[in-house]
């Protein structure tokens, strides 16, 4: 199964859609690399985009751990994201109305703890009840959290937002001054279009390393947790909770674990966001973030971690890639055009998406226990004589 040891076999192991995605991804990477080298793509901007992609990937990991694994419908992604962002910002920023000035690591911990408390607060009453309760309550929670952040100025600075947030590495040895100490570089790959790497580049680079660490650790953890008896119970709950109960699983506890795990990951995305943008405001709790997280998870494939990663990248491509639309002269107002394009891309991907990214291909069995390597010869997603669900015999 090791990719390095035997890339050919690993490739052969992939399903058709997986290969498709891999192919497209590789092509996309090469394209980006080319653009970077020729100077068509600014390296700092590119790193910013990578950071954003990492952030969306984290958000979709979180939502995937709830919806994809367990079928928990959480409509307050933005709230947990905001809690993470605000938690960290309020602890670290100079202008924080309550604390401020702490090391970002303290901010990280506080953000996670607050997210945990909030997750418990909403999980305890709703997770015992029917599945849609969480959906409903979280819809309300998102609005309540947003309004509290907006209106309680003594706590959050209200609509003014929190400013003066340090970089995540502030106070760390070496890293805190790394961007300033690095010399500005000027690379010339193609004569005439030099690539300039200044302080902002090095800052962006640090951010990217940070998000890669966050996302990488999360990914590895989720992968192990998912392809395991634990993940299996979650999926059983997702498709038939009563069955899981009959088999002696404490479904309430499992649901709570999954909900908390996901919420913490979302908060982590928020923490990263805070130190990426160095400013948070109530607008960051806008439900649109929840929208995009859902889009990412669904496009990537519910229940699949790689899918969530893929979805995060797709979202950035959709949101930021469409800005390049501006570079073409069109007779219509570009802004609604971009909205239109985002809409069309979402619809098109749902229509022509690589089918296989969707259902998680791996069986949820501890990898080393399965001799055959774990790939299943499942036929392309089941029968659906009529769309709209419920049609399986």
């Amino acid at each position: 199964m090791s990719l390095l040891a035997d890339p050919k076999a690993a490739f052969a192991d992939l399903t058709r859609p997986e290969r498709w995605v891999l192919g497209v991804s590789v092509a996309f990477m090469l394209f980006l690399l080319g653009a970077l080298l020729t100077g068509a793509l600014g390296p700092t901007y590119f790193l910013f985009l990578v950071g954003l992609a990492g952030m969306y990937a984290l958000l979709s990991f979180g939502l995937n751990a709830q919806w994809g694994f367990t079928g928990l419908i959480n409509f307050s992604v933005a709230a947990f994201f905001g809690i993470g962002a605000y938690g960290s910002a309020l602890m670290t920023a100079e202008s924080s109305p309550i604390a401020g000035g702490f090391n970002p690591l303290v901010g990280l911990v506080v953000a996670l703890v607050v997210a945990l408390v909030l997750a418990l607060l909403i999980g305890i009453p709703t997770l015992r009840l029917r599945a849609d309760y969480l959906a409903i309550a979280s819809l309300g929670l998102a609005e309540v959290v947003r309004l509290v952040v907006l209106n309680e100025r003594w706590l959050t600075n209200g609509s003014a937002g929190v400013r003066g947030i340090p970089s995540f590495f502030k106070g760390w040895p070496v890293l805190s001054t790394f961007p300033e100490t690095m010399p500005g570089l000027r690379l010339v790959v193609i004569p005439g279009s030099p690539i300039i790497l200044g302080t902002s580049f090095w800052e962006a680079l640090l951010n990217v390393l940070l998000v890669l660490t966050f996302a990488g650790v999360t990914f590895l953890m989720l992968r192990r947790a998912h392809q395991s008896p634990w993940g299996r119970v979650l999926r059983t709950i997702r498709s038939d909770e009563d069955l899981a109960r009959a088999l002696g699983k404490n479904t309430y506890s499992f649901k709570m674990q999954s909900f908390i795990l996901g919420s913490l990951i979302m908060a982590l995305a928020g923490v990263f966001y805070t130190h990426l943008n160095l400013y948070v405001g109530p607008g960051d709790l806008d439900p649109i973030t929840t929208f995009y997280a859902w889009v990412a998870v669904i496009l990537g494939g519910s229940g699949s971690n790689r899918g969530a990663l893929f979805g995060g990248i797709v979202i950035v491509t959709i949101r930021e890639g469409t800005r390049f639309l501006n570079d073409f002269a069109i007779p219509i107002d570009p802004a609604p055009m971009r909205l239109l394009l985002i809409g069309i891309v979402i619809v098109a991907v749902m229509r022509y998406r690589p089918q296989g990214v969707l259902p998680p291909q791996r069986e949820l069995i501890w990898p080393s226990a399965v001799d055959g390597g774990g790939t299943t010869e499942t036929p392309d997603s089941g029968v659906r004589e009529q769309k709209g669900g419920g049609g399986d015999e």
Binding site: S228, R232, R235, G248, K249
Partner: protein, 265 residues
């Protein structure tokens, strides 16, 4: 409180005891002062007309319904009002009459949910003791594959669990419950819709497990199957125990013939 004394047999070592259990839906008393016990080591049959309250009784015992009155004891512990998973912890597992479909899982994955107390079900242990997780997982997988073979559905192991025939679903349901290795196994119509040839084999399986110590309480309308396998047999009618006895005794009971068996058998 009326009918049960008549047929009730003395039980020294009851692994499951149902006492004066009641449940009504609206005006309908689906379980009406039902009292009986299941002796350890037996295969006890539970029969009765459609709508007699057999499945309701299973739901009450296993903690899916909250009884309106009465108690349920498993292994000497009062489990009345407990959550299903707590009842399961006391060693009782049940199957469903309508097989449950596990969307997005293969047949063998769906089977692997069965075993209880897997170390890998603890999030912490996944990271703390991956070795133990791996070991138990391999063992469970081997068990699952063996049992699928016994049930003649090993070729379906990696099929999506939803894309199988109605009878095959019943088989998976049964096989999964067996993997849980409970002390008491409640089966709700395990062979309804199962081909007779295969049903025969299942009978042997159940018998073998029983010899290894599992106690069974099974609902079944296939007379040949129950009469052959179960002893004693409890007859339920309109929510309460009509009578209890040996297959032959029950078969020749006029009330049972009238309410249940009909003229044909």
């Amino acid at each position: 409180m009326v009918a049960m004394s008549e047929g009730a047999l003395p039980k020294e070592d009851a692994v499951l005891r149902v006492d004066d259990l009641q449940k009504s839906f609206g005006g309908l008393a689906a379980t009406d002062h039902a009292t009986f016990a299941v002796e350890r080591g037996t295969i006890t049959g539970l029969i009765g007309p459609n709508g007699a309250g057999k499945s309701t009784l299973f739901n009450l015992i296993s903690g899916f319904y909250e009884p309106d009155g009465g108690t349920v004891e498993v292994n000497g512990t009062d489990v009345t009002g407990m959550e299903p998973y707590e009842v399961a912890e006391h060693g009782l597992i049940r199957t469903f009459q309508t097989p449950r479909k596990l969307e997005g899982m293969t047949v063998r994955e769906a089977m692997l949910v069965g075993p209880r107390n897997q170390p890998g079900e603890s999030f912490v242990k996944l990271f703390a003791t991956p070795g133990a997780v791996s070991e138990s997982e391999s063992a469970n997988l081997a068990d699952a594959e063996r049992i699928l073979e016994d049930f003649e559905i090993d070729h379906l192991a990696t099929q999506p669990a939803t894309d199988i025939s109605g009878g095959q679903m019943k088989l998976v349901e049964l096989a999964r419950a067996m993997l849980a290795e409970p002390e008491v196994l409640l089966l709700d119509e395990p062979v309804a819709g199962v081909n007779p040839t295969l049903a025969k084999k299942l009978k042997d399986q159940i018998r073998r497990l029983n010899e290894q110590g599992t106690t069974f309480l099974l609902i079944e309308h296939d007379m040949e199957f129950v009469m052959d396998l179960a002893d004693p047999i409890v007859v339920l009618d309109q929510g309460s125990v009509l009578t209890e006895g040996t297959p032959d005794g029950v078969r020749s009971d006029d009330r049972v013939i009238e309410a249940y068996l009909g003229g044909g058998t």
